[in-house]
Subunit: 67 residues, 6 copies
């Protein structure tokens, strides 16, 4: 029954989303003691123009190496 939402910047591949789905689901099931089948995950990819940190849209920043 758990619902996991993942908001992240655009740019991840379908393969990364599939790997995330598998991994987060199995970790959730293991730790929270639920069945994997009951876990739903919804990914939301956000454009850099729509995400601000510290008051600055993230498309305005020089490419950050790892975020």
């Amino acid at each position: 029954m758990p619902i996991i939402r993942v908001e992240m910047l655009t740019g991840r591949t379908r393969e990364q989303k599939q790997e995330l789905a598998e991994s987060l689901t199995s970790e959730m099931a293991r730790i929270a003691k639920c069945t994997p089948a009951s876990v739903q995950i919804v990914f939301t990819e956000v454009e850099r123009e729509d995400w601000a940190i510290g008051g600055v849209l993230t498309d305005a920043k020089p490419a950050a190496p790892a975020s």
Copy 2:
């Protein structure tokens, strides 16, 4: 004042969304005792690639007849 959010897979028509808007609003108003005008509904259509159940992205499944 109630806000209803509906997350569902893409593929519903505008007519279905209009019918949902009418129906959910009138049921909400009737049961929760609020005015229909105070009810807002926001639809979010999610791509199959962005929704996982049981650790599997839903675009990886054979077309499910009724979900």
Copy 3:
């Protein structure tokens, strides 16, 4: 698979939530062509102190008869 979230002010009874659950689920299934079993609804009750309209917390208003 649809997920419906209902945010509303506190004060509804369990019976109203059960009636909403039944009604919204059956309408969702009928209109969006999904199975009732696939519909999840999460209710969030919000305190008046945590909901503002027009810049005013709703606990500051004289009791509104129907919202």
Copy 4:
């Protein structure tokens, strides 16, 4: 650490979003006593076809001058 989400109809420019990001972040920091760097804002632009008020999708209304 605060996360602010802004859902609004589509149609605002990048400049408006940047101005909102700056303003909401500085007001948040000032009033809630946090650092501006800790404030994240995520904008979600919603199509008129996906937002209903009073049971009517907002693309069905004559253009409202100010909402």
Copy 5:
């Protein structure tokens, strides 16, 4: 029509929420060109035990001076 959600750690007073409501609403109206009356704000206060940064629940950290 805009909906603003503010998620923040518990501990702010009603006065801070009222001041945030006024300020964020007026800035939203001014910049996004909507009426103040159309802006709704919902505050969600999150317990430190329910918010993790960098994999650590925030109640496990020594009191951070400004977040």
Copy 6:
């Protein structure tokens, strides 16, 4: 920068939340190529009375063994 929200029924311990925070953060960082420090997780525990599946509030069901 990713934000992960976990909605689940009440009843998990702080230890489970801490273990989830560590695990989901490290998996997110590994797969999505971001720094662990940039990952935020917000847990929302939902009362059984506020979560319906198939039109039935989950407090109305006989205790499900694994969800």
